[in-house]
């Protein structure tokens, strides 16, 4: 499966921009572990504790905890491509609607 980050109309990726300011350890874990695992396993990665489908939405959530940071990545799968739509710091026990809305509006723009 191919992994791509969502880009806006000017070709910039808010996800990559967010990842760039993270500690190196977290960057390595997100890029070379979670996203590489999705590249290899596809949706089967949901059979681990790292990824799950967001109930009621066509979105998947990757959970990352390292360097005292709780992070969530929201993605969608379009045929053989996983689009990383959004990344944010988790501060509550649930995924805030605001973050889901951001991911959904970016997902819409893919079409």
């Amino acid at each position: 499966m191919e992994i791509r980050s969502w880009t806006n109309q000017s070709g910039q990726s808010p996800v990559e921009k967010f990842i760039e300011q993270l500690p190196e350890k977290t960057k390595v874990r997100i890029l070379t572990f979670h996203l590489k695992n999705i590249e290899q396993e596809g949706l089967k990665y949901c059979k681990t504790q790292h990824m799950e489908k967001l109930k009621g939405y066509d979105l998947y959530e990757i959970k990352e905890h390292s360097s005292n940071l709780f992070l969530r990545l929201l993605l969608t799968i379009d045929r053989e491509t996983a689009w990383i739509l959004h990344i944010f710091k988790k501060e509550k026990n649930f995924t805030p609607k605001k973050e889901i809305k951001t991911a959904l509006s970016r997902k819409k723009s893919l079409n």
């Binding site: 791509r4 890029l31 070379t32 681990t48 790292h50």
Partner: protein
């Protein structure tokens, strides 16, 4: 940007490359346990039962945050029909590439030629490797 392009770009930066090389062995092991377990259609609970441990221990190994013992890796690879392979390769500049690798593999993932070109340390007498 496509993932591999992005990783390659970041690997040009010394601090990222250093952290990547530090974490790679443990993340590789976690990835291999995940891959073998999923390909054998087993849940973490089922694998835990097979190796006589609890599900959180398997989750910890798959998190890439903890170093499993050789004994545990050996049990996991055996339970999943795989094989624990440890290869030690000379790191001196004349004998590059520089690789020290530990992996859990399906035997049929490798050709005989590949197997012959590596140094294998196997536990063949069912004693744990310390």
């Amino acid at each position: 940007m496509e993932l591999n392009q992005y990783i390659n770009k970041l690997l040009e930066k010394k601090s990222f490359r250093k952290e990547y090389e530090k974490q790679k062995p443990i993340l590789d092991i976690a990835r291999q346990v995940i891959h073998l377990r999923i390909s054998k259609n087993k849940t973490q609970e089922e694998l835990a039962k097979l190796v006589k441990t609890k599900q959180p221990s398997i989750a910890r190994i798959e998190s890439g945050n903890s170093s499993p013992s050789f004994k545990m890796l050996e049990k996991i690879s055996k339970a999943l029909g795989g094989k624990l392979v440890v290869s030690l390769i000379d790191c001196s500049p004349v004998n590059s590439p520089t690789i020290t690798n530990i992996s859990i593999s399906h035997l049929n993932n490798y050709t005989q030629e590949q197997q012959d070109s590596w140094i294998f340390i196997h536990n063949t007498n069912n004693k744990s490797i310390k």
